[in-house]
């Protein structure tokens, strides 16, 4: 890193608020939060030029702990808010965060369309395969057959692989991390934040309360790094590492460069002006005055 040579302006603690996380001791989200502090530090993002937006859930409490601008919005609506911020203010760094229920159940449609539009936002999903905040109901990522507080006799629904979904619906950068692997998580966050366009990072982030300590151990055991020679520009190659059950592959699954929503909206403006100066309200009003 060239930044390392000069004294960095911001330390990880500069991104930390005074609020004590409400999370359970041992919650995977602590790892994500620490990772984010470090990733922001590595990128030396100015806190006041950064907005972290979330929905509702344990994981969605995260913006309160990051000393940048932040919005803890409504369950499922992180991405619409994030889109509004970014399109209105392209100068800001916008990061959306939240849980698997938030992003894939109630927020699924926004995920789909943010990815399709290649919205210039990084989206970090804390995937614990459960609804944490509401005390342990099945999420769209909960494996079929699992017993939860809302699936007493086994979950009757197959789980979705968030990375597969992201790749299929148009995300231009897709990664998978494990919050127990801090170094890897930071690395991936940095890459996601550097990506131009919609970057989706699925962080496996255990819920010790509703999925048990086992989730940590089993993820640790299952974690594999992507092979060095993985071709992240190939959709087909990326899809090989989705719907895994016995292993969990972490790394940058997919990474392509496509015009982003902001690029395309900029083109719209160019086309609209067609070389002429910006219009004023007076111009518009004039156009309503019959002038034949």
């Amino acid at each position: 890193m060239s930044e390392a040579a000069t004294l960095p302006e911001f330390k990880p603690s500069d991104y930390k608020t005074d609020l004590k996380p409400v999370w359970c001791a041992g919650c995977g989200d602590f790892g994500v939060l620490t990772g984010l502090y470090r990733a922001l530090t590595e990128l030396q993002v100015k806190p006041w030029e950064t907005v972290v937006v979330s929905g509702i859930g344990c994981s969605s409490r995260l913006p309160g702990y990051v000393d940048t601008f932040g919005v803890n919005s409504l369950h499922g609506r992180a991405l619409p808010l994030a889109a509004g911020v970014k399109v209105a203010r392209p100068d800001l760094t916008v990061i959306a965060v939240g849980g698997d229920g938030d992003g894939l159940a109630i927020g699924g449609n926004h995920f789909l369309h943010a990815a399709r539009r290649n919205l210039d936002v990084s989206y970090i999903l804390m995937d614990n395969e459960i609804y944490g905040l509401t005390k342990g109901q099945a999420a769209p990522t909960t494996p079929a057959g699992d017993k939860t507080k809302s699936t007493h006799y086994g979950n009757p629904e197959p789980a979705v692989d968030p990375c597969e979904l992201a790749i299929s619906v148009g995300a231009t950068w897709v990664g998978r991390a494990f919050s127990g692997d801090l170094k890897g998580t930071v690395e991936l966050m940095v890459k996601a934040l550097r990506h131009k366009g919609f970057a989706f990072l699925n962080v496996m982030s255990p819920c010790v309360t509703w999925r048990g300590d086992d989730q940590f151990k089993s993820l640790k055991a299952k974690q594999r790094q992507l092979p060095e020679n993985h071709d992240a520009s190939s959709r087909a190659a990326a899809l090989v590492y989705t719907r895994e059950s016995e292993i969990v592959t972490t790394g940058v699954l997919f990474d392509v460069s496509e015009p982003t929503l902001l690029d395309r909206l900029a083109t719209v403006k160019v086309n609209a002006l067609a070389g002429k100066p910006q219009s004023t309200v007076a111009d518009i009003i004039k156009s309503f005055q019959p002038s034949f």
Partner: protein
């Protein structure tokens, strides 16, 4: 004027309106369509006058019908006056009688070869222009201006097309000149400076741009889509952005995001969309995010009558949302007013950091009206930003006397805060203590007082010593105002009060209006009498002197309806109507 798909009714009405506006006439134009998605029958009512016009008029002085079969589909939307001049196509296979149409003896009915003449003139399929020609000859419409309007409309791309169109017009003109003249029916007016002519939706969109709105997110829905389409054309030319979102949840979410980011932002929708936005409006209220939501009412409930007007989203606008959720509701009552109300909406939203809902309706939004370009002037207000000093120890939700705390713009060092929809303290940090909740509720509601005090928007028509006081809102204003004028002309002491601000309500002003009034008449197009019930929440409306004229929408309020109520009231004959639960 009424015709089948392809008869060009819409164009005919449009050309006529444009020409009239060009010559400084006042114009009010409405349209209606059949259920077919496209190419179905349509009708249009164009009212022209040198005097002010408040609504479409109950019965048309002149009725042009290309197809009686289609005419029958527009019952209530296109009715001739009893003494109307009716011009119909002699080739129409369907027969109608003056009795069918309720015409009186002094009506005039002329059957003309519109179709044939159009073909003969070489401009096949131009019945509408032939019709315009006839109208011009018969009623003294501005001939030269109409010619220019036609050329401008049809000849823009290809001069030949314009000339062809003119031929049809001239043919009609000639035909009209052969008809017995009706001097007493001719339009009397002096040409003046050109007027603007636009729809309520357009005026709303222009109001938004004037107010400084540079971000729009929306999802199409009849009858509000024109706002989205208009802004799609203009926002990028003004450096703004528009995103057509995947749904209304996303639209209002993006608006709040843009607002948080420091932009003036809005969305526009209609009933179903507003219902979907209910939860997100609560976030706007709780997190004190300025935003403007224009809701163009149509017939409800549910998908209802998507192309018809109604005033039944009042409850949704004023009361919807879980929890105690302050918001502001404004209503626009005509096209020009749509401009001003939208600017007011932004001013209030930004100054008080509160969601503002503008209630328009299909009637106002869809009709075209003329007005003076000079009237589009309106002061623009801005958000309260933290001062440099305030930024040294910034609390986003600091307690203030008026409840409004300075709102930092992202990018400003020292302005950092995290907001949320959870109850929160002055910093924005979540808290669930009772005292905090009570204080914060008080802070959020406190803002309503200065809003009401500073913006006592309402209109008042009729004499000061009125005996009958009519209360109505939104697009009902047109018919009520005209009815009040009629009554006053008859020497009856009738006045009307029309609030522009619906919530909070200009209560003092209404109470002043009602002082001395003997009988109160509430008029509205809502089956369940939403306006009346809403008024009751803060106003004592004694049963013995309060009357409610309410009905479903789907047909615009007519002057005759209001007239009849006034007459019955004055005669002591009005039966008290039971308003259902």
């Amino acid at each position: 004027m009424v015709g089948a798909g392809g008869d060009g009714i819409v164009t005919m009405a449009d050309v006529l309106s444009q020409a009239a506006a060009r010559d400084g006439l006042n114009v009010l134009k409405t349209e209606a369509y059949g259920p077919q998605i496209r190419g179905g029958e349509s009708s249009s009512v164009v009212r022209l006058s040198g005097d002010p016009i408040y609504e479409s008029g109950d019965g048309a002085d002149v009725l042009v019908v290309f197809s009686w079969a289609d005419f029958s589909r527009f019952k209530g939307e296109c009715t001739p006056a009893r003494n109307a001049v009716v011009l119909s196509d002699e080739a129409d296979p369907v027969a109608r009688t003056p009795e069918d149409l309720g015409l009186s003896a002094d009506a005039v009915w002329i059957k003309l070869p519109f179709g044939k003449l159009s073909t003969d003139s070489g401009a096949k399929g131009s019945k509408n222009l032939v019709g315009l020609g006839v109208l011009t000859a018969l009623f003294g419409l501005p001939e030269g201006t109409l010619r220019r309007a036609i050329v401008s409309r049809f000849g823009r791309k290809k001069a030949a097309v314009g000339e062809m169109a003119l031929k049809a017009f001239e043919a009609g003109l000639l035909l009209g000149q052969t008809l017995p003249p009706m001097p007493e029916r001719r339009l009397a007016f002096t040409p003046g400076p050109a007027k603007l002519i636009m729809s309520g939706n357009e005026a709303t969109a222009i109001g938004a741009l004037h107010a400084g709105c540079r971000y729009f997110a929306g999802y199409p829905i009849t009858p509000s889509t024109e706002i989205l389409m208009f802004l799609d054309e203009w926002l990028p030319k003004m450096g703004g952005s528009l995103v057509q979102t995947e749904d209304e949840l996303s639209a209002i979410g993006a608006v709040l995001g843009a607002s948080f980011a420091g932009e003036k932002a809005m969305t526009a929708t209609s009933g179903p969309g507003l219902s979907l936005m209910t939860e997100m409006l609560g976030l706007a209220s709780m997190a004190e995010l300025p935003c403007v939501v224009v809701n163009v009412q149509r017939g409800g409930p549910s998908t209802g009558l998507p192309t018809k007007s109604e005033q039944s989203d009042l409850f949704q606008a004023v009361f919807a949302g879980h929890g105690d959720m302050p918001r502001v509701v404004l209503a626009c009552s005509d096209v020009e007013d749509s401009f001003h109300t939208t600017v007011d909406a932004f001013n209030i939203a930004e100054e008080y950091q509160i969601p503002v809902i503008v209630l328009s309706d299909q009637l106002v939004a869809g009709r075209r009206e003329t007005f003076d370009p000079a009237s589009l002037v309106h002061e623009v207000r801005e958000r309260r930003l933290p001062s440099a000093e305030e930024l040294t120890d910034y609390h986003r939700y600091k307690e203030t006397p008026d409840g409004v705390s300075p709102m930092a713009r992202p990018g400003v060092k020292g302005g950092i805060y995290q907001t949320n929809g959870l109850e929160h303290d002055e910093e924005g940090s979540p808290g669930s203590g009772f005292l905090l909740h009570e204080e914060m509720n008080a802070k959020r509601y406190r803002k309503l007082r200065p809003i009401r005090d500073a913006h006592t928007f309402h209109r008042r028509y009729g004499p000061e010593d009125a005996e009958i006081g009519i209360l109505c809102w939104g697009s009902s204003k047109g018919a009520v105002r005209e009815a009040v004028r009629h009554a006053n002309e008859r020497g009856q002491k009738v006045a009307a009060f029309v609030p522009q601000m619906i919530y909070p309500f200009p209560k003092k002003e209404l109470e002043a209006f009602l002082k001395g009034v003997k009988q109160i008449l509430v008029v509205e197009l809502s089956y369940s009498a939403q306006f009346y019930k809403y008024l009751r929440t803060f106003l004592d409306l004694p049963a013995e002197r309060t009357h409610v004229y309410k009905r479903s929408g789907g047909k615009n309020l007519t002057v005759a309806e209001v007239d009849a109520e006034i007459v019955a009231l004055l005669a002591g004959e009005r039966v008290q109507e039971r308003v259902s639960a």
